[in-house]
Protein backbone atom coordinates (compact mmCIF):
# COMPACT_ATOMS: atom_id res chain seq x y z
CA UNK A 1 0.00 0.00 0.00
CA UNK A 2 1.37 3.41 0.87
CA UNK A 3 5.05 2.54 0.84
CA UNK A 4 7.55 -0.25 1.40
CA UNK A 5 9.51 2.13 3.58
CA UNK A 6 8.79 2.47 7.22
CA UNK A 7 7.68 5.30 9.48
CA UNK A 8 8.62 5.03 13.16
CA UNK A 9 9.00 7.19 16.25
CA UNK A 10 12.22 9.14 16.44
CA UNK A 11 14.85 7.80 18.84
CA UNK A 12 16.44 9.84 21.62
CA UNK A 13 19.78 9.78 19.82
CA UNK A 14 18.23 11.08 16.61
CA UNK A 15 16.38 13.81 18.47
CA UNK A 16 19.65 14.82 20.14
CA UNK A 17 21.35 15.07 16.76
CA UNK A 18 18.64 17.47 15.60
CA UNK A 19 18.58 19.53 18.77
CA UNK A 20 22.38 19.77 18.92
CA UNK A 21 22.36 21.11 15.38
CA UNK A 22 19.58 23.60 16.09
CA UNK A 23 21.04 24.89 19.35
CA UNK A 24 24.51 25.21 17.88
CA UNK A 25 23.41 27.04 14.75
CA UNK A 26 20.11 28.75 15.53
CA UNK A 27 20.04 28.71 19.33
CA UNK A 28 16.67 26.99 19.58
CA UNK A 29 15.28 23.49 20.17
CA UNK A 30 13.03 21.65 17.74
CA UNK A 31 10.11 21.87 20.15
CA UNK A 32 10.45 25.61 20.64
CA UNK A 33 10.86 26.10 16.92
CA UNK A 34 7.70 24.23 16.00
CA UNK A 35 5.13 24.55 18.80
CA UNK A 36 3.54 27.64 17.30
CA UNK A 37 3.80 26.33 13.77
CA UNK A 38 1.98 23.15 14.71
CA UNK A 39 -0.50 24.82 17.10
CA UNK A 40 0.43 22.29 19.70
CA UNK A 41 1.79 22.04 23.24
CA UNK A 42 3.95 19.13 22.18
CA UNK A 43 5.76 18.24 19.01
CA UNK A 44 6.04 14.60 17.96
CA UNK A 45 8.75 13.63 15.54
CA UNK A 46 8.76 10.60 13.29
CA UNK A 47 11.40 9.10 11.05
CA UNK A 48 10.68 7.87 7.58
CA UNK A 49 13.37 5.24 7.05
CA UNK A 50 15.00 5.10 3.67
CA UNK A 51 18.30 6.02 2.01
CA UNK A 52 17.94 9.24 3.95
CA UNK A 53 16.07 9.14 7.21
CA UNK A 54 13.47 11.84 6.60
CA UNK A 55 12.13 13.51 9.73
CA UNK A 56 8.59 14.80 10.11
CA UNK A 57 6.92 16.55 13.02
CA UNK A 58 3.25 16.56 13.90
CA UNK A 59 0.96 17.82 16.63
CA UNK A 60 -1.16 15.89 19.16
CA UNK A 61 -4.22 15.66 16.93
CA UNK A 62 -2.28 14.26 14.00
CA UNK A 63 -0.40 11.88 16.32
CA UNK A 64 -3.63 10.08 17.17
CA UNK A 65 -4.29 9.48 13.49
CA UNK A 66 -0.71 8.45 12.73
CA UNK A 67 -0.73 5.98 15.60
CA UNK A 68 -3.90 4.43 14.23
CA UNK A 69 -2.36 4.16 10.77
CA UNK A 70 0.86 2.63 12.10
CA UNK A 71 -1.16 0.23 14.24
CA UNK A 72 -2.56 -1.22 11.02
CA UNK A 73 1.06 -1.70 9.86
CA UNK A 74 0.59 0.91 7.13
CA UNK A 75 2.99 3.75 6.44
CA UNK A 76 2.19 7.23 5.20
CA UNK A 77 4.01 8.74 2.24
CA UNK A 78 4.64 11.90 4.25
CA UNK A 79 3.20 13.52 7.34
CA UNK A 80 2.90 16.92 8.95
CA UNK A 81 5.90 19.20 8.87
CA UNK A 82 9.08 18.17 7.05
CA UNK A 83 11.91 18.86 9.51
CA UNK A 84 14.84 17.58 7.47
CA UNK A 85 16.88 14.43 7.16
CA UNK A 86 19.56 12.53 9.02
CA UNK A 87 22.36 10.80 7.19
CA UNK A 88 25.40 9.30 8.82
CA UNK A 89 24.47 10.92 12.14
CA UNK A 90 24.35 14.34 10.51
CA UNK A 91 21.22 16.49 10.42
CA UNK A 92 20.34 18.40 7.26
CA UNK A 93 17.52 20.92 7.79
CA UNK A 94 14.66 21.11 5.30
CA UNK A 95 13.72 24.24 3.39
CA UNK A 96 10.57 24.38 5.48
CA UNK A 97 12.45 24.27 8.78
CA UNK A 98 14.46 27.30 7.68
CA UNK A 99 11.22 29.08 6.77
CA UNK A 100 9.81 28.34 10.23
CA UNK A 101 12.99 29.64 11.88
CA UNK A 102 12.88 33.11 10.30
CA UNK A 103 11.18 34.72 13.30
CA UNK A 104 12.98 32.51 15.82
CA UNK A 105 16.68 33.02 15.22
CA UNK A 106 19.20 35.77 14.61
CA UNK A 107 21.43 33.45 12.63
CA UNK A 108 20.73 35.07 9.29
CA UNK A 109 22.36 37.12 6.58
CA UNK A 110 20.47 39.68 4.55
CA UNK A 111 21.42 39.89 0.92
CA UNK A 112 20.76 42.42 -1.84
CA UNK A 113 18.63 41.78 -4.95
CA UNK A 114 21.52 40.35 -6.93
CA UNK A 115 22.52 38.01 -4.11
CA UNK A 116 18.91 36.90 -3.66
CA UNK A 117 18.46 36.18 -7.35
CA UNK A 118 21.70 34.21 -7.59
CA UNK A 119 20.94 32.27 -4.42
CA UNK A 120 17.51 31.29 -5.78
CA UNK A 121 19.32 29.84 -8.79
CA UNK A 122 21.30 27.61 -6.46
CA UNK A 123 24.43 29.76 -6.42
CA UNK A 124 26.61 30.85 -3.51
CA UNK A 125 26.73 34.37 -2.04
CA UNK A 126 29.52 36.88 -2.40
CA UNK A 127 30.46 39.01 0.59
CA UNK A 128 29.62 42.13 -1.43
CA UNK A 129 25.97 40.92 -1.65
CA UNK A 130 25.57 40.69 2.14
CA UNK A 131 24.01 43.91 3.42
CA UNK A 132 23.28 42.94 7.01
CA UNK A 133 23.48 40.13 9.55
CA UNK A 134 21.29 39.21 12.51
CA UNK A 135 24.27 38.53 14.73
CA UNK A 136 27.95 37.74 14.25
CA UNK A 137 28.28 34.56 12.20
CA UNK A 138 30.90 31.89 12.86
CA UNK A 139 32.76 30.01 10.17
CA UNK A 140 30.80 26.85 9.20
CA UNK A 141 27.64 28.12 10.89
CA UNK A 142 24.41 27.22 9.11
CA UNK A 143 22.44 30.41 8.52
CA UNK A 144 19.20 31.58 6.99
CA UNK A 145 19.45 33.73 3.89
CA UNK A 146 16.91 36.55 3.77
CA UNK A 147 16.32 39.36 1.29
CA UNK A 148 16.23 43.05 2.22
CA UNK A 149 12.57 42.70 3.27
CA UNK A 150 13.51 39.90 5.67
CA UNK A 151 11.85 37.37 3.39
CA UNK A 152 13.15 33.83 3.48
CA UNK A 153 15.23 32.66 0.55
CA UNK A 154 16.99 29.52 1.78
CA UNK A 155 19.73 28.06 3.96
CA UNK A 156 23.47 28.42 3.55
CA UNK A 157 26.75 27.61 5.31
CA UNK A 158 29.15 30.38 6.25
CA UNK A 159 32.54 29.76 4.66
CA UNK A 160 34.13 32.25 7.02
CA UNK A 161 33.22 34.44 9.98
CA UNK A 162 30.99 37.44 9.25
CA UNK A 163 30.88 40.46 11.51
CA UNK A 164 29.54 43.97 11.28
CA UNK A 165 31.32 47.14 12.35
CA UNK A 166 29.93 50.66 11.85
CA UNK A 167 27.34 49.36 9.36
CA UNK A 168 30.03 47.64 7.35
CA UNK A 169 29.95 43.88 6.74
CA UNK A 170 33.33 42.31 7.35
CA UNK A 171 34.43 38.93 6.03
CA UNK A 172 37.71 37.60 4.75
CA UNK A 173 36.45 35.66 1.80
CA UNK A 174 35.00 36.70 -1.54
CA UNK A 175 32.41 33.90 -1.57
CA UNK A 176 31.02 33.81 1.93
CA UNK A 177 27.84 31.70 1.96
CA UNK A 178 27.65 28.26 0.40
CA UNK A 179 24.18 27.39 -0.85
CA UNK A 180 22.74 24.39 1.00
CA UNK A 181 19.16 24.69 -0.21
CA UNK A 182 17.08 27.53 -1.62
CA UNK A 183 13.45 28.09 -2.58
CA UNK A 184 14.30 27.68 -6.26
CA UNK A 185 14.34 23.97 -5.43
CA UNK A 186 10.55 23.97 -5.77
CA UNK A 187 10.96 24.84 -9.44
CA UNK A 188 14.06 22.79 -10.15
CA UNK A 189 13.13 19.60 -8.30
CA UNK A 190 9.82 20.13 -6.57
CA UNK A 191 7.64 18.27 -9.06
Amino acid sequence: MTSKLKVRNISRTELSIINNFLIKNWNITLKNLLVEQLHSKNVYAYIYEGYFNEIYAINEDAKEIIDEILEKKKHPYALGFHVGRIRKNKFIPSLELGYAAVTKTNAYVIVNDKGEKNFLYGKDIFTESVIDIGTNIREKQIVLVLNDRHEYTGIGRALGAITKRRDKILARRKVIIKNIIDLGWYLRRGG
Binding site: M1, T2, S3, Q37, L38, H39, I58, N59, D61, A62, I65, I66, E68, I69, K72, K74, P76, Y77, A78, L79, G80, F81, H82, S94, L95, E96, Y99, E116, L120, N147, E151, Y152, L183, G184, Y186, L187, G190, G191
Partner: protein
Protein backbone atom coordinates in the same frame (compact mmCIF):
# COMPACT_ATOMS: atom_id res chain seq x y z
CA UNK B 1 -32.68 0.26 -16.99
CA UNK B 2 -31.76 3.73 -15.73
CA UNK B 3 -28.15 3.15 -16.73
CA UNK B 4 -29.25 2.22 -20.24
CA UNK B 5 -31.28 5.40 -20.51
CA UNK B 6 -28.38 7.52 -19.30
CA UNK B 7 -25.75 6.01 -21.58
CA UNK B 8 -27.80 5.30 -24.68
CA UNK B 9 -27.34 8.04 -27.25
CA UNK B 10 -29.10 8.54 -30.55
CA UNK B 11 -27.22 11.13 -32.49
CA UNK B 12 -29.21 13.54 -34.64
CA UNK B 13 -27.97 14.96 -37.93
CA UNK B 14 -27.96 18.41 -36.36
CA UNK B 15 -25.61 17.19 -33.63
CA UNK B 16 -23.35 15.63 -36.25
CA UNK B 17 -23.22 18.89 -38.24
CA UNK B 18 -22.42 21.02 -35.21
CA UNK B 19 -19.87 18.50 -33.95
CA UNK B 20 -18.08 18.63 -37.30
CA UNK B 21 -18.07 22.44 -37.27
CA UNK B 22 -16.50 22.67 -33.80
CA UNK B 23 -14.34 19.52 -34.01
CA UNK B 24 -16.13 17.40 -31.37
CA UNK B 25 -17.17 13.77 -31.31
CA UNK B 26 -20.88 13.83 -32.25
CA UNK B 27 -22.06 11.95 -29.13
CA UNK B 28 -20.80 14.85 -27.00
CA UNK B 29 -22.79 17.48 -28.85
CA UNK B 30 -25.94 15.37 -28.70
CA UNK B 31 -25.51 15.20 -24.93
CA UNK B 32 -25.04 18.98 -24.74
CA UNK B 33 -28.48 19.30 -26.32
CA UNK B 34 -29.83 17.03 -23.58
CA UNK B 35 -28.15 19.22 -20.95
CA UNK B 36 -29.13 22.64 -22.31
CA UNK B 37 -32.36 21.66 -24.11
CA UNK B 38 -31.75 24.25 -26.79
CA UNK B 39 -29.44 24.26 -29.84
CA UNK B 40 -28.78 27.98 -29.51
CA UNK B 41 -27.47 27.45 -25.97
CA UNK B 42 -25.37 24.51 -27.18
CA UNK B 43 -23.76 26.78 -29.78
CA UNK B 44 -23.03 29.45 -27.17
CA UNK B 45 -21.44 26.79 -24.98
CA UNK B 46 -19.27 25.48 -27.85
CA UNK B 47 -18.25 29.00 -28.87
CA UNK B 48 -17.35 29.72 -25.24
CA UNK B 49 -15.07 26.69 -25.19
CA UNK B 50 -13.04 28.26 -28.03
CA UNK B 51 -12.09 31.25 -25.85
CA UNK B 52 -9.03 30.95 -23.60
CA UNK B 53 -9.67 31.24 -19.88
CA UNK B 54 -7.94 33.83 -17.75
CA UNK B 55 -5.33 32.44 -15.39
CA UNK B 56 -5.98 32.82 -11.70
CA UNK B 57 -4.17 32.51 -8.40
CA UNK B 58 -5.11 31.92 -4.79
CA UNK B 59 -3.49 34.11 -2.18
CA UNK B 60 -2.08 31.82 0.52
CA UNK B 61 -2.72 33.35 3.94
CA UNK B 62 -0.57 30.66 5.60
CA UNK B 63 2.44 32.52 4.16
CA UNK B 64 1.39 36.15 3.62
CA UNK B 65 -1.58 38.49 3.69
CA UNK B 66 -3.45 39.28 0.51
CA UNK B 67 -2.93 43.04 0.66
CA UNK B 68 0.86 42.58 0.76
CA UNK B 69 0.68 40.12 -2.09
CA UNK B 70 -1.30 42.61 -4.18
CA UNK B 71 1.40 45.25 -3.60
CA UNK B 72 4.27 42.89 -4.38
CA UNK B 73 2.74 41.69 -7.62
CA UNK B 74 1.96 45.25 -8.66
CA UNK B 75 5.63 46.13 -8.15
CA UNK B 76 6.46 43.39 -10.64
CA UNK B 77 3.99 44.82 -13.17
CA UNK B 78 1.71 41.84 -12.76
CA UNK B 79 -1.85 43.08 -13.16
CA UNK B 80 -4.34 41.23 -11.01
CA UNK B 81 -8.00 41.70 -10.21
CA UNK B 82 -9.88 40.31 -7.26
CA UNK B 83 -12.40 37.61 -8.18
CA UNK B 84 -15.54 38.96 -6.49
CA UNK B 85 -16.97 35.59 -5.50
CA UNK B 86 -13.77 34.15 -4.05
CA UNK B 87 -12.20 35.45 -0.81
CA UNK B 88 -8.65 34.59 -1.88
CA UNK B 89 -8.91 34.41 -5.66
CA UNK B 90 -7.40 36.82 -8.22
CA UNK B 91 -7.53 36.93 -12.00
CA UNK B 92 -4.16 37.44 -13.67
CA UNK B 93 -4.89 40.07 -16.32
CA UNK B 94 -1.32 40.42 -17.52
CA UNK B 95 2.16 39.44 -16.46
CA UNK B 96 5.55 40.17 -18.02
CA UNK B 97 6.96 36.99 -16.38
CA UNK B 98 5.61 33.47 -15.94
CA UNK B 99 3.51 33.52 -12.76
CA UNK B 100 4.86 30.11 -11.76
CA UNK B 101 8.42 31.43 -11.51
CA UNK B 102 8.25 34.55 -9.35
CA UNK B 103 9.98 34.79 -5.97
CA UNK B 104 6.51 35.24 -4.45
CA UNK B 105 5.42 31.93 -5.93
CA UNK B 106 8.52 30.22 -4.54
CA UNK B 107 7.84 31.71 -1.11
CA UNK B 108 4.37 30.16 -1.23
CA UNK B 109 2.53 33.49 -1.18
CA UNK B 110 0.16 32.19 -3.85
CA UNK B 111 -0.86 29.09 -5.72
CA UNK B 112 -1.86 28.94 -9.37
CA UNK B 113 -5.35 27.54 -9.26
CA UNK B 114 -8.48 27.67 -11.42
CA UNK B 115 -11.27 29.65 -9.76
CA UNK B 116 -13.77 26.80 -9.87
CA UNK B 117 -11.35 24.51 -8.07
CA UNK B 118 -11.13 26.99 -5.20
CA UNK B 119 -14.83 26.46 -4.54
CA UNK B 120 -14.98 22.91 -3.12
CA UNK B 121 -12.80 23.72 -0.07
CA UNK B 122 -14.85 26.87 0.59
CA UNK B 123 -18.06 24.88 0.39
CA UNK B 124 -16.60 22.18 2.63
CA UNK B 125 -16.02 24.96 5.17
CA UNK B 126 -13.24 23.27 7.16
CA UNK B 127 -12.96 24.25 10.84
CA UNK B 128 -10.22 23.82 13.43
CA UNK B 129 -9.99 20.43 15.15
CA UNK B 130 -11.87 18.60 12.42
CA UNK B 131 -10.55 15.44 10.80
CA UNK B 132 -10.84 15.85 7.06
CA UNK B 133 -10.34 13.39 4.23
CA UNK B 134 -9.29 14.46 0.76
CA UNK B 135 -9.80 11.39 -1.39
CA UNK B 136 -8.00 12.38 -4.60
CA UNK B 137 -5.57 14.98 -3.41
CA UNK B 138 -2.86 15.63 -6.04
CA UNK B 139 -1.63 18.11 -7.08
CA UNK B 140 -2.84 19.63 -3.84
CA UNK B 141 -4.61 22.89 -4.75
CA UNK B 142 -7.70 21.90 -2.80
CA UNK B 143 -5.85 20.11 0.02
CA UNK B 144 -3.71 23.15 0.71
CA UNK B 145 -6.74 25.44 0.57
CA UNK B 146 -8.51 23.26 3.16
CA UNK B 147 -5.45 23.69 5.41
CA UNK B 148 -5.41 27.44 4.75
CA UNK B 149 -9.09 27.90 5.60
CA UNK B 150 -8.63 26.15 8.95
CA UNK B 151 -5.26 27.88 9.52
CA UNK B 152 -3.49 24.51 9.78
CA UNK B 153 -5.53 23.75 12.89
CA UNK B 154 -7.26 20.64 11.56
CA UNK B 155 -5.89 17.29 10.43
CA UNK B 156 -6.16 16.33 6.77
CA UNK B 157 -5.68 12.83 5.47
CA UNK B 158 -4.82 13.25 1.81
CA UNK B 159 -4.95 10.21 -0.43
CA UNK B 160 -3.33 9.92 -3.84
CA UNK B 161 -2.71 6.77 -5.83
CA UNK B 162 -0.47 8.12 -8.58
CA UNK B 163 3.26 7.98 -7.81
CA UNK B 164 4.19 10.93 -10.02
CA UNK B 165 1.34 13.18 -8.93
CA UNK B 166 1.98 12.53 -5.25
CA UNK B 167 5.36 14.27 -5.57
CA UNK B 168 3.75 17.48 -6.74
CA UNK B 169 1.22 17.17 -3.91
CA UNK B 170 4.03 17.00 -1.36
CA UNK B 171 5.96 19.82 -2.99
CA UNK B 172 2.91 22.10 -2.92
CA UNK B 173 2.15 21.18 0.68
CA UNK B 174 5.70 22.14 1.68
CA UNK B 175 5.89 25.29 -0.44
CA UNK B 176 2.56 26.59 0.82
CA UNK B 177 3.35 26.05 4.51
CA UNK B 178 0.84 23.29 5.20
CA UNK B 179 1.79 21.42 8.37
CA UNK B 180 -1.22 19.27 9.21
CA UNK B 181 -1.50 16.74 6.40
CA UNK B 182 -0.90 13.01 6.40
CA UNK B 183 -0.36 11.75 2.86
CA UNK B 184 -1.25 8.18 2.01
CA UNK B 185 -0.39 6.62 -1.34
CA UNK B 186 -3.19 4.15 -1.92
CA UNK B 187 -6.44 3.53 -3.70
CA UNK B 188 -8.99 5.65 -1.82
CA UNK B 189 -11.65 2.97 -2.25
CA UNK B 190 -9.68 0.78 0.18
CA UNK B 191 -9.67 3.24 3.05
CA UNK B 192 -12.80 1.80 4.62
CA UNK B 193 -11.36 -1.73 4.48
CA UNK B 194 -8.02 -0.81 6.04
CA UNK B 195 -8.70 1.85 8.64
CA UNK B 196 -11.31 2.50 11.30
CA UNK B 197 -10.92 6.25 10.87
CA UNK B 198 -14.11 8.32 10.74
CA UNK B 199 -14.04 11.82 9.27
CA UNK B 200 -15.94 15.01 10.07
CA UNK B 201 -15.76 16.21 6.48
CA UNK B 202 -14.72 14.70 3.18
CA UNK B 203 -13.73 16.25 -0.11
CA UNK B 204 -14.17 13.95 -3.07
CA UNK B 205 -12.87 15.80 -6.09
CA UNK B 206 -13.37 12.71 -8.15
CA UNK B 207 -11.21 11.56 -11.04
CA UNK B 208 -13.21 12.47 -14.14
CA UNK B 209 -13.09 12.74 -17.92
CA UNK B 210 -12.30 16.47 -17.69
CA UNK B 211 -15.17 17.48 -19.94
CA UNK B 212 -15.10 20.91 -18.34
CA UNK B 213 -11.50 21.51 -19.34
CA UNK B 214 -11.98 21.83 -23.11
CA UNK B 215 -10.96 25.55 -23.17
CA UNK B 216 -7.67 24.48 -21.59
CA UNK B 217 -7.26 21.10 -23.31
CA UNK B 218 -8.91 21.23 -26.75
CA UNK B 219 -7.83 17.60 -27.42
CA UNK B 220 -10.57 16.62 -24.99
CA UNK B 221 -13.09 17.32 -27.80
CA UNK B 222 -12.23 13.95 -29.30
CA UNK B 223 -10.22 12.01 -26.73
CA UNK B 224 -12.97 10.36 -24.66
CA UNK B 225 -15.82 8.07 -25.66
CA UNK B 226 -19.09 7.44 -23.86
CA UNK B 227 -17.55 4.13 -22.71
CA UNK B 228 -14.77 6.10 -20.99
CA UNK B 229 -17.41 8.13 -19.19
CA UNK B 230 -19.22 4.94 -18.19
CA UNK B 231 -16.02 3.47 -16.74
CA UNK B 232 -15.30 6.61 -14.72
CA UNK B 233 -18.89 6.78 -13.50
CA UNK B 234 -18.40 3.37 -11.88
CA UNK B 235 -15.23 4.54 -10.16
CA UNK B 236 -16.94 7.74 -9.00
CA UNK B 237 -19.88 5.81 -7.56
CA UNK B 238 -17.57 3.47 -5.74
CA UNK B 239 -15.51 6.37 -4.34
CA UNK B 240 -18.61 8.19 -3.16
CA UNK B 241 -19.94 5.04 -1.48
CA UNK B 242 -16.58 4.61 0.27
CA UNK B 243 -16.65 8.24 1.37
CA UNK B 244 -20.07 7.71 2.96
CA UNK B 245 -18.81 4.67 4.86
CA UNK B 246 -15.99 6.59 6.52
CA UNK B 247 -17.97 9.78 7.17
CA UNK B 248 -19.27 10.47 10.67
CA UNK B 249 -23.00 10.92 11.21
CA UNK B 250 -23.94 14.53 10.39
CA UNK B 251 -20.68 14.77 8.51
CA UNK B 252 -20.38 16.63 5.23
CA UNK B 253 -19.16 15.46 1.84
CA UNK B 254 -18.39 17.82 -1.00
CA UNK B 255 -18.37 16.00 -4.32
CA UNK B 256 -16.88 17.80 -7.29
CA UNK B 257 -15.52 17.16 -10.76
CA UNK B 258 -14.03 19.26 -13.52
CA UNK B 259 -16.60 17.74 -15.83
CA UNK B 260 -19.99 18.99 -16.95
CA UNK B 261 -21.15 15.46 -17.77
CA UNK B 262 -24.37 14.66 -15.87
CA UNK B 263 -23.28 11.01 -16.03
CA UNK B 264 -20.30 11.86 -13.80
CA UNK B 265 -22.19 14.20 -11.52
CA UNK B 266 -25.94 14.23 -10.82
CA UNK B 267 -26.24 10.60 -11.94
CA UNK B 268 -23.44 9.49 -9.59
CA UNK B 269 -25.11 11.12 -6.61
CA UNK B 270 -28.57 9.94 -7.65
CA UNK B 271 -27.25 6.39 -7.97
CA UNK B 272 -25.59 6.44 -4.54
CA UNK B 273 -28.65 7.96 -2.82
CA UNK B 274 -30.95 5.45 -4.54
CA UNK B 275 -28.87 2.43 -3.48
CA UNK B 276 -28.26 3.57 0.05
CA UNK B 277 -30.35 1.83 2.74
CA UNK B 278 -28.21 2.47 5.80
CA UNK B 279 -28.66 6.17 6.44
CA UNK B 280 -30.38 9.25 5.13
CA UNK B 281 -28.48 11.47 2.73
CA UNK B 282 -29.40 15.08 2.26
CA UNK B 283 -28.33 17.35 -0.56
CA UNK B 284 -27.52 20.76 0.91
CA UNK B 285 -27.85 24.19 -0.68
CA UNK B 286 -24.65 25.81 -1.89
CA UNK B 287 -24.48 29.55 -1.47
CA UNK B 288 -21.46 30.76 -3.42
CA UNK B 289 -22.85 33.62 -5.48
CA UNK B 290 -22.07 31.93 -8.78
CA UNK B 291 -23.08 28.92 -10.83
CA UNK B 292 -26.09 27.43 -12.55
CA UNK B 293 -28.31 24.98 -10.72
CA UNK B 294 -27.79 21.24 -11.01
CA UNK B 295 -30.00 19.22 -13.34
CA UNK B 296 -33.29 17.86 -12.03
CA UNK B 297 -33.54 15.54 -14.98
CA UNK B 298 -31.39 14.18 -17.76
CA UNK B 299 -32.39 12.04 -20.71
CA UNK B 300 -35.74 11.20 -19.20
CA UNK B 301 -34.30 10.16 -15.84
CA UNK B 302 -35.74 12.30 -13.08
CA UNK B 303 -33.13 12.87 -10.35
CA UNK B 304 -35.31 15.09 -8.17
CA UNK B 305 -35.95 18.73 -7.44
CA UNK B 306 -33.28 18.77 -4.72
CA UNK B 307 -30.59 18.29 -7.39
CA UNK B 308 -31.08 21.95 -8.23
CA UNK B 309 -29.08 22.60 -5.05
CA UNK B 310 -25.94 21.36 -6.83
CA UNK B 311 -23.89 23.90 -8.79
CA UNK B 312 -22.66 23.76 -12.38
CA UNK B 313 -20.13 26.17 -13.83
CA UNK B 314 -19.71 26.73 -17.55
CA UNK B 315 -16.84 28.52 -19.28
CA UNK B 316 -19.16 30.56 -21.52
CA UNK B 317 -21.27 31.84 -18.61
CA UNK B 318 -18.94 31.97 -15.64
CA UNK B 319 -15.49 32.38 -17.22
CA UNK B 320 -14.19 29.34 -15.35
CA UNK B 321 -13.38 25.79 -16.27
CA UNK B 322 -16.52 23.65 -16.52
CA UNK B 323 -17.22 22.29 -13.06
CA UNK B 324 -19.76 20.53 -10.87
CA UNK B 325 -20.17 20.68 -7.09
CA UNK B 326 -22.56 18.98 -4.70
CA UNK B 327 -22.74 19.10 -0.92
CA UNK B 328 -24.21 16.20 1.03
CA UNK B 329 -24.91 15.52 4.67
CA UNK B 330 -25.06 12.01 6.10
CA UNK B 331 -27.85 11.93 8.66
Amino acid sequence: MIENKIFHIEISNKAKDIAKRYGYLPYMVQRYYEIFGDWHEVTLFLKGNEKPLLKSIRCNTLRTNCRELEIKLKEKNITIEKIPWLPHGYWILSSPIPIGATHEYLRGYYHIQGPASMLPPLILDPRPNELILDMAAAPGGKTTYIAQLAENRNVIVAIEKNRKRIKSLLSNINRLGVTNTIILRMDAVKISEIFDLRFDKILLDAPCTGEGLIPLIPERKTSRTIEDIKKLTKIQISLLKTALKVLKRNGIIVYSTCSIAPEENEYVIFNVIKDNREFELELLSIDIGIGANGLEEYKGVYFGKEFRKCKRLYPYVHGTEGFFIAKLRKK
